[in-house]
Symmetry: C2
Amino acid sequence: MVLAEDLAKQQRSISVAEFFEKNKHLLGFDSPTRGIITTVKEAVDNALDACEEAEVLPDIFVAIRKVGTDVYRITVEDNGPGIVGKNVPYVFGKLLYGSRFHQIRQSRGQQGIGISAAVLYAQLTTGVPALVISRTGANAPAHRFELMIKTETNEPDVLVHEEIDWDRTHGTRIEIEFRSTLAAKKRLLEYLRYTAVVNPHARITADIDGELTVFERVSSEVPPCPKAILPHPHGIEFGALKRIAAVSAEPLDEFLVNSFSRVGKKTAEEMIALANLKPRRKVKGLEAEELKRLLAAMQQVKVPAPPAQQCLSPIGEDLIRKGLEKEIPLDFIKSRTRPSTVFSGHSFIIEAAIGYGGKLPAEGSGQILRFANRVPLLYQQGACAITGCVSQVNWKAYGLSQAGLPAGPVLIMVHVASTNVPFTSESKDAIASIPEIEREIVLVLQELGRELKTYLNRRDKKKQQDDRARAICSIIPEIAAKVSDIVELPPLDTSPIEGKIMRKLVAKKRTSDGTVSIDVHNYTAREIAFTLYNLSRDDAADAEPKPDFVDAFDGEYNKVWKCLLAPGTVWQVTYSGSGDGSIDLRGVEENQKVVVDLDV
Amino acid sequence: MVLAEDLAKQQRSISVAEFFEKNKHLLGFDSPTRGIITTVKEAVDNALDACEEAEVLPDIFVAIRKVGTDVYRITVEDNGPGIVGKNVPYVFGKLLYGSRFHQIRQSRGQQGIGISAAVLYAQLTTGVPALVISRTGANAPAHRFELMIKTETNEPDVLVHEEIDWDRTHGTRIEIEFRSTLAAKKRLLEYLRYTAVVNPHARITADIDGELTVFERVSSEVPPCPKAILPHPHGIEFGALKRIAAVSAEPLDEFLVNSFSRVGKKTAEEMIALANLKPRRKVKGLEAEELKRLLAAMQQVKVPAPPAQQCLSPIGEDLIRKGLEKEIPLDFIKSRTRPSTVFSGHSFIIEAAIGYGGKLPAEGSGQILRFANRVPLLYQQGACAITGCVSQVNWKAYGLSQAGLPAGPVLIMVHVASTNVPFTSESKDAIASIPEIEREIVLVLQELGRELKTYLNRRDKKKQQDDRARAICSIIPEIAAKVSDIVELPPLDTSPIEGKIMRKLVAKKRTSDGTVSIDVHNYTAREIAFTLYNLSRDDAADAEPKPDFVDAFDGEYNKVWKCLLAPGTVWQVTYSGSGDGSIDLRGVEENQKVVVDLDV
């Protein structure tokens, strides 16, 4: 039997660096392939955060170069504010060290783990120290470090520190070398592309093993950096309240106003009265029982939601739509930014967009783009609350087929912006199931679903109408001819029949024996002004009447006629040609016109 | 513009306790409901590990009691070896402190985080310190602690420490009080039930708010405690090699033999020669380049897999089957334990079982039971590699319908036993996608799938044969009678026709006018010995021939005839009765017989 004394000898502290070295998959280093993406992501996130804080338009350079069998050197350089020399070793050489962990505001990095984990991974797989250069301004020297992490203690190990000349006046450069592969190059470019989509103010230049890709900025406005706010009284837990109370020198009434967001003098008084405490008592001296009463009172008194405008930075409906349209051709797109709301005292905003058609694949599951605090999420789609919500919505009600996820040429984008994004793991791949967040996502998806349904209905109706018109216009004359033939009477003019059915402006194009004729019937009861566009390879030099103008480009001729047509009359043009191409009527409402190309 | 100096003021260390307090969902404390399950799980895991190490049959008591509005007190007490007094504060009051992190062997707890996280959660939500009592033997006093964690430093905060009388000679008791609900009571009982299934040597007694459930042990053999092994030369990374080399005083040849598992003198020499180094050189003095050559050589030289028998503790096919059958009625069950194999130098064994029919629901997805190192996994099924593998197998090929997961009355159990289970997060809910592990899981599921298919085929064939026989035996005589009638000839004997079709032993039972007759035709070409069982409410007192024996029980009579039947002949018994109940032929292969009950 092993005795407790024997076991005791084995019990000891584990450094957080040892922990993450053994559990490196928790940080997104589960495979050499993924290591590159994780490293780039962490470095780019830091660069964007720093530029935002310094109100600088980010200019980020990413390079990946093969330096040996299965060994790659990853470089990320930014034009951010830089890091003061004495802090560099901690920022890159110590896990759980950073500036954003204790602040309540939206930021990409939160934990102070990411980039040090890359340094840890490098020293584990190649033993090569990380190279860091940073400079904080024109009057400061650039600092150059070669550093590693002492795994047993989680402290930085500085091998080289020198001041050097650097051509940048401010910014940071990191170079890390580890065992990897470029198998996920496509995914890496995808990460950079979507990062550019949700950070339209950033320019990202990527040199991947010699191949250059530039994601140009589309906006030169730096989004305002979210400001840190105080904790919200409804979100605080007993342990945290006890801790801040213990270090306060203030009396209760001032403490509440100065330590919590949205608590004014009146609200504080209400809380204190409800807790049956004295306003001028020093909080430091409160007993546990009194603090519990205070906490209960803080929950009970109504307090406005945290000031989300200040601490969050949503992308906005407009920029989401523009960003997506720039990258993906779509027939339809709608975006929504929901009002801010709260889970456990943390503000959050859900933004989403739905796209349809265009070049999206017609078969299979729709595409889901997930973002958190302006960072694309690439892995663990199945484990993410966003995916869960997408599956949960009844897309059949909105005109899509569905097998878990909606199917067909559909794209769904969801962005969760929060002062504390609840990820399912430190690798920040998936958002945890928080009922408040899920509720908001489902709501916004349903809103967008209804928009999609309206679009699909209109499209279907339009298609049905066009099909019907085509059938009528092509069959009725034939029937009429047949009938005339049988009854041995001259051919009937079928236009009034069509008109009776249609009551619209009807444009028909038909070609026979090298003559193209387009006629437009006004079956309505009023005069209509319209513009006829005819794009084809026919130059229509002999057109009668002549087009108002012609755009010739690359062997194609866009011929434009502007007309005014009285009710019950017909306008016609004829020209010699093959009759290919298309026609279009503009200046007339969709439901007021029918365009039939009998040559197609 | 914010300057680097301003940012620097905000940069600071984050204690691991602060980190996990903010990210408590990473440890399975995402909701008050789940908190109870996580706490019980961590405490029970620790108890089972400690009992295994001490070779004690575990006797674990779990109590959950409501002590206030939304506040529960969770108690777990075990009869393990206890914890020496001076270590108790660290085991319970410091995250990342434990005995199993640095050992290479299968254990439930690995990180030294779990139970301290529960203490952290308690002080956060109620501020009530954890109560711990531990005693290491009859000659030692029991130590009683009330303790918390200093969040800013991740150090224990001992409020009370006293020596007390305790009726146990050895064991540990922890009581933790936090805000929670009992909404997941069913899941908690499920966790305890499946824990008992895979730990058949443990007795677990649960008192959940006054309701007592005992999971009795079914085996009184303590499974051997897995022994720690040395790292395997194929699994070591450069950083780790550098670290152990730096603290070694040995020459290279001894270092390799003494620091790695499965490396003997000859293998060491081979590695050293391949690396072009001198065997007697002190490893401490090796340059980085030399170490890299050594590492490459260590990977190249063939080394047997790590000694899995020693460091792993699979459940075994027999106990898996027995354990599942005890809890779930099934028509069919097969289990498999795969040979041990390796990922990144970590040994692992996959065990799995497949069950079918019984009381499993006929509709919907099959049930998946996931285990890792003898611990049931309850959450994040969708994110788990096990689920991924189950979906990946083509179950249609094995006779099941499938929509992602296999559907119908099927149960799939998978156990991953490893010296380092790669979980997707610290909450240890789901296994990460490791190709080697996934490959083994898919292989074992395919093996079991083939077994299932054989079973289903046999069952289907049997059913088809029976249907066909029933059709023939009931319709042919009628047709014959009709034909005889029409042609006005005496009724034909249809038996030879049936026999020609069947070439089997055919037993037929039919009842008319209160007379039951059972005849057995031997349509085969050889003499057959068989036993006929006829279970019904008829006592068959006038049976001719008389049964060889009759079992009477509770108004039913099981009548048994033993016969020997020449080829081409028929044996018959008749008796008065209602003809209810069933007949069965034994001693004859399934595919050699047809049993038809025309009364059903």
